[in-house]
């Protein structure tokens, strides 16, 4: 049976390549190729009446950057993404902490409650919010009925509606990535801080936050990227009056049939997301670099 050993040794080299190949191919075919095509499109020319004219021009990018309307939409999207991410961190962290320290049936129940919304698509959930936020929606019905509100709240088609909607979408992702790192922080480390005279606030600030930083970064990054690229929620809850980048790209490509400009806008979105996430990482890393070199 010497052959088996030989084969196994040889096979291990082979199988490593074999195992990595499908994923590599899939990424190449599914991500790099379409991106390359999109990049090419973004350099084409759009002449109304014609579909797309072969060219090598930066005019689509220039148009986006020069037009305050488009710049405004990008700025608005970044603003919403930052705000949503901040809200997700503030709401998600305590919840994730409770989750990480909980045990037994209560923990399973909590995880189920957090994961359950992921079973329902974004669009369906946004539709749910529409029912809740409408002028005759649940919120106003209850608020007016109980006398908490004097007049119906106008939530639909406002940034508030969009923010609430996206926060609800992102929260499970954020909480789960916080929970993983928080569970890795030993309870006795916290107790050591208490024992040395640090109250809960000081312990959170000096011990738990720095140790949880990798999870906070990944959760926040996830939330930021999800918001930058959000589509269903801003379309359904923001309506035509509150536009974000995702819906803008869609309307350029599908409604205006301006593929070159849509392609340029999506590249600007991607670039902005990349640059901002990188800057965010660098700032946080510099601040909390001690101990993780």
């Amino acid at each position: 049976m010497t052959r088996t050993t030989f084969d196994r040794e040889n096979g291990s080299v082979l199988s490593a390549a074999t195992l990595a190949a499908p994923a590599t191919l899939l990424v190449a075919a599914g991500l790099v190729v379409p991106l390359a095509i999109l990049l090419r499109y973004s350099l084409n020319q759009f002449i109304p009446g014609q579909f797309m004219t072969e060219a090598l021009t930066l005019e689509n990018y220039v148009r986006f950057v020069a037009d305050p309307y488009f710049r405004g939409i990008l700025g608005q999207t970044i603003g919403i993404a930052a705000l949503v991410t901040a809200i997700c961190i503030v709401i998600g962290f305590p919840l994730a902490y409770v989750l990480a320290r909980a045990g037994g049936r209560f923990k399973s129940l909590l995880i189920l409650a957090i994961v359950l919304p992921l079973f329902v698509g974004n669009a369906v959930r946004a539709a749910g919010w529409m029912i809740a936020f409408g002028t005759n929606g649940v919120v106003n019905y209850v608020g007016l009925g109980l006398g908490i509100l004097n007049q119906p709240l106008e939530i639909m088609y406002t940034p508030t509606a969009v923010i609430i909607g996206i926060v609800a979408v992102n929260l499970p992702f954020v909480i789960l990535s916080f929970q993983t790192v928080l569970e890795g922080i030993s309870r006795s480390v916290e107790e050591a801080a208490f024992n040395l005279g640090a109250g809960p606030l000081a312990t959170t600030r000096r011990i738990i936050l720095p140790l949880a930083m990798p999870g906070i970064i990944s959760g926040a990054t996830l939330s930021f990227i999800l918001t930058m690229n959000a589509y269903a929620t801003p379309v359904l809850l923001g309506g035509p009056s509150f536009v974000m980048m995702g819906p803008l790209v869609y309307s350029q490509v599908m409604t205006q049939m301006n593929w070159p400009f849509g392609a340029a806008a999506s590249f600007i979105l991607m670039l902005a997301t990349l640059v901002l996430t990188t800057i965010g990482h660098l700032i946080v890393q510099r601040r909390y670099s001690s101990g993780r070199n």
Binding site: A192, L196, R206
Partner: protein
């Protein structure tokens, strides 16, 4: 440093009492060990003193202050955790400084006290290392320096040596004890290791099932155990079960007639009825089978364990009882199956009624 008084401390979870009516005092500068098997309530008691567990009943007093309802961060106790619980994102010096910073002590004084705390445990050369870059023994000393640097009113040691290897353990035992005596730290140490407890403590508190079994100096616990559990847990003992048939006379279950003390371990008169005799291994003498004096019993060697400085010989008496004898050295080699003469002084026998 302050006196610590624990009185009637009880913790009940559902219908399980983790600690029942635990009371003791630790004098200024005294090191007292909470000793017992796992689940005996020693750690629960320590955690109630630190403030991590709220007692169901009872009180903890440090110095003149009743701290039972005080948050752990306001108690001013210094704890060394079993797994050290160092802050992984801080250097050795930052770890030690943490407690001082929480006390709003100025930068210069912090540096000075960190320096002296690290010098005390001979780690000042590693001040800028991170915990993961130093050895387990060094981490243990950082944990000790961190707890001592805040000048705690009471030092709490939770199984401080259990994560160290055997050789290092003996060295650190002496280091901790020396430091504790130099600084006159009022100290409570939790341990399940009787050697550790015997060598390091001024007094021991032996616990079982959430209840204090006996409090005393190492010598008292070894020489005058109050119950069979204490005699069994602290040191080794040979136990012979049976009944007292008349004052001073005992018959084992197997039928051997032995003499026994007239009073039991607690000092009460030993009445006729069920009882257990305990004999320490160093009190049991072995001789050649032909020997007749002092009067004793015929036995047969069952097992010999050679431990270097001593030899433990397990012997089965002709009547069936098993005893262990500890010898310094063997005059002539004994091997399994050899017959021998077993004897002990009547005064070395302790009797328990339970």
């Amino acid at each position: 440093m302050s006196r610590l008084v624990v009185s009637g401390l009880t913790k009940i979870y559902g219908n399980f009492a983790a600690a029942k009516d635990v009371s003791f005092e630790v004098g200024e500068g005294e090191l007292v060990s909470l000793l017992g098997p796992s689940g005996c309530g020693k750690t629960t008691t320590l955690r109630m003193i630190a403030g991590f567990i709220t007692p169901t009943r009872g009180s903890v007093t440090i110095g003149e202050d009743d701290v039972t309802r005080i948050a752990p961060w306001s108690r001013n106790t210094g704890m060394v955790f079993q797994n050290y619980a160092l802050f992984p994102h801080m250097t050795v010096a930052q770890n030690v400084a943490f407690g001082l910073e929480m006390r709003r002590i100025g930068g210069a004084e912090v540096r000075e006290r960190v320096q002296s705390a690290l010098q005390m445990v001979r780690l000042d050369h590693l001040a800028d290392r991170y915990p993961r870059n130093i050895s387990g023994g060094q981490q243990q000393r950082v944990a000790l320096a961190r707890a001592v640097a805040i000048r705690p009113r009471v030092l709490l040691l939770d199984e401080p040596l259990s994560n160290l290897d055997a050789k290092l353990r003996e060295q650190v035992r002496i280091e901790i004890r020396t430091l504790q005596q130099e600084l006159k730290l009022t100290t409570i140490m939790v341990t399940h290791d009787q050697d550790e407890a015997l060598t390091m403590s001024d007094r021991l508190i032996l616990m079982e099932g959430g209840v204090v079994q006996q409090i005393g100096t190492p010598r008292e616990l070894y020489n005058r155990p109050r119950s069979r559990f204490v005699a069994d847990f602290v040191g080794q003992s040979s136990f012979i079960e049976g009944e007292v048939v008349a004052p001073g006379q005992f018959r084992s279950i197997q039928g051997a007639l032995l003499s026994c003390p007239e009073r039991d371990a607690s000092g009460a008169t030993l009445n006729t009825g069920k009882a257990t005799l305990a004999i320490r291994p160093e009190a049991i003498r072995l001789g050649p089978a032909a020997e007749t004096a002092p009067p004793g019993h015929a036995g047969k060697v069952e097992f010999v364990s050679y431990l270097g400085s001593r030899i433990d010989v397990h012997v089965r008496l002709a009547t069936g009882e098993a005893v262990i004898s500890t010898l310094r050295d063997l005059a002539e080699p004994l091997s399994v199956g050899d017959p021998c003469h077993v004897s002990w002084a009547d005064a070395s026998v302790t009797a328990f009624t339970a």
